[in-house]
């Protein structure tokens, strides 16, 4: 079966992002960019399905400006077979990304689409579910284990109280949680090979999608800073402070 994996180019997770001085946006000048960690887990899962003989082809897709081809190449180096870049400028909202991915799904007809549960820049946690609604596919979000069983996909999901297992008919959508797998590192030979793999570029118009905006970013600001408090000498003083100063224990 064919597996489509969506990847996003985001600020590297080690970078501490700050608001610009004028509050118009975040300052992303000269910061290191990388593949979104949850998307990396999605690529790894797809590649493992191929290694297990379940998947026949793994296609990595990304929506964004030209440089996101770097992240597609990363996915190709990790083991995806070919790439698709949907070239779109500026801040693309999750609903539009879902519509563009729907266009790719219609072209490629994958049996499984794997996405990260959220990207670590916008922290929206929307695209996979939206793609599910638009394509009328079932979804296994926040997955910590997936298993193809005949025509069905069993998904173990991380939910607030613990774990939930659901069964989905195929084709289906999965969004990854952290514990689904531990992604491998790309080897140098595979990075070199990835440069030669097929990468097709589409425009939103090719997919019949109009890029619209529903949300305006009014301003960004740093969160309220917490003042560092005091150091206490010992446990006795800590308990005293909690009882008599903070009054949070009795």
């Amino acid at each position: 079966m064919k597996v489509l994996v969506a990847v996003k180019r985001v600020v590297d997770y080690n970078v501490k992002v700050r608001a610009k001085g004028d509050g118009s946006d975040v300052d992303l000048n000269n910061v290191k960019m990388a593949i979104n960690p949850f998307c990396e887990i999605a690529v790894e899962e797809a590649v493992r399905l191929k290694e297990a003989g379940v998947a026949t082809e793994v296609i990595a897709v990304s929506v964004g400006e030209k440089p996101c081809q770097e992240q597609i190449r990363t996915a190709l180096a990790l083991g995806a077979d070919r790439g698709i870049h949907v070239e779109a400028e500026g801040r693309i909202e999750p609903l539009v990304i879902a519509k563009l991915l729907k266009g790719v799904v219609e072209k490629e007809q994958p049996q499984l689409v794997i996405l990260g549960k959220q990207s670590i820049d916008g922290d929206n946690n929307q695209t996979g579910q939206m793609l599910g609604a638009l394509t009328n596919m079932p979804q296994g979000t926040f997955a910590s284990e997936i298993k193809v069983e005949g025509e069905k996909l069993n998904v173990v999901r991380e939910v607030d109280g613990g774990l939930q297992t659901i069964s989905l008919s195929l084709p289906a959508i999965v969004t990854t949680d952290l514990r689904l797998n531990e992604p491998r590192y790309a080897s140098l030979p595979n990075i070199m090979k990835a440069k030669k793999k097929q990468l097709d570029v589409y425009s939103p118009a090719d997919l019949g999608v109009e890029v619209t905006s529903h949300i305006t970013l009014v301003r960004v600001e740093p969160p309220a800073e917490r003042q560092a408090g005091i150091k206490v000498e010992d446990v006795a003083q800590l308990v005293d402070k909690l009882k008599n100063e903070a009054k949070v224990i009795s």
């Binding site: 608001a19 909202e93 879902a98 579910q129 609604a133 774990l163 659901i166 952290l178 009014v218 301003r219």
Partner: protein, 309 residues
């Protein structure tokens, strides 16, 4: 103007997150109805009717909604939402699972994880793991919103007398089914609703040592959490994780034990009212957000703390 709040419940009773969502909905300044979708969920519906300030409670009671499968419930919500200007749900794993599907069915954007309502169309929400707060304005006629429960006080659970109406619409997409669940059983309060949380990090060294936290948790009526480092190291299960990719908590008292204070962890607890840090590394970043810091070996400090309480 009218707002539909999606109730969080387990069919038998309402979850506290619903009350926080109602408070967020009140800030939108419109009349509020509540939708309870489930199976044999009349008790949860009756509970919702007692919340102060609610117009009516819509109860969709059908087997298709028993396990909150997103494929089915999103179709129901999208249909009911046609009569409302806003749809609000708590940003629990359930709300996060279902609401983007609803938004896409309605062809509108979703505003996720709202922490403040500035006006009927303008909201604050954290981005980049809470390192930046964005103010965003929606141009959609109908707004689909999930709210961070810790950012809004609970609405009064009693005092209202809303009418209860049955919704007969049945949506079974036939795409998914529930197989089973493993729910962590604990006598302790739920992590996201506990007044006190005590969390362990990599400094705990192994899962057995989390027992050192239990005695203290029992005395304080606290929930026990963990940092991602402790979860990744296999000390404790992931449902205990506090942080950007785990649970967001804001208790009256948060005690961080053997936690260095990575950005991802701080994103999940820095809105706690009082933060205590116990760590033997005096340069650990956790001390920069702690109200009370104790530089000590946790294996000495924890038994002392337990006996001092």
């Amino acid at each position: 103007m009218s707002t539909l709040v999606i109730a969080e419940h387990d069919n038998g009773s309402l979850k506290p997150a619903t009350l926080n969502a109602v408070t967020a909905a009140q800030a939108l300044g419109a009349d509020i109805d509540i939708l309870v979708a489930g199976a044999n969920c009349a008790a949860a519906g009756d509970e919702a009717a007692k919340i102060a300030g609610i117009g009516k409670v819509l109860v969709a009671d059908n087997g298709a909604y028993e396990h909150q499968l997103a494929e089915n419930v999103s179709l129901l919500i999208a249909e009911v939402a046609a009569a409302y200007d806003n749809v609000v749900a708590p940003a629990t794993t359930n709300g996060k699972n279902i609401m983007p599907r609803v938004a896409a069915l309605l062809d509108v954007a979703q505003i996720s994880d709202v922490t403040a309502v500035e006006s009927a169309d303008t909201f604050k929400r954290p981005i980049y793991a809470g390192n930046v707060i964005a103010t965003v304005q929606s141009s959609d006629a109908r707004k689909v919103i999930t709210v961070r429960t810790t950012a809004f006080d609970a609405a009064a659970a009693e005092g209202g007398s809303a009418t209860v109406e049955a919704v007969s619409a049945v949506h079974d997409a036939g795409l998914s089914s529930f197989v089973g669940e493993e729910v962590a059983v604990s006598d302790r309060p739920e992590l996201t609703a506990a007044p006190v949380v005590i969390s362990g990090g990599r400094g705990m060294q192994n899962g057995d040592n989390f027992k050192l936290l239990e005695g203290i948790a029992d005395k304080l009526g606290a929930a026990i959490g963990a940092s991602r480092a402790a979860v990744d190291a296999g000390f404790v299960p992931n449902d205990m994780q506090v942080g950007q990719t785990g649970k967001i908590v804001a208790p009256d008292l948060y005690i961080a034990v053997g936690i260095s204070g990575a950005i991802q962890h701080l994103a999940g607890m820095k809105d706690s009212k009082v933060i205590v840090a116990i760590n033997k590394d005096e340069d650990a970043p956790i001390f920069q957000v702690a109200d009370y810091g104790l530089v000590a070996d946790l294996f000495d400090a924890l038994p002392q703390l337990e006996s001092a309480l």
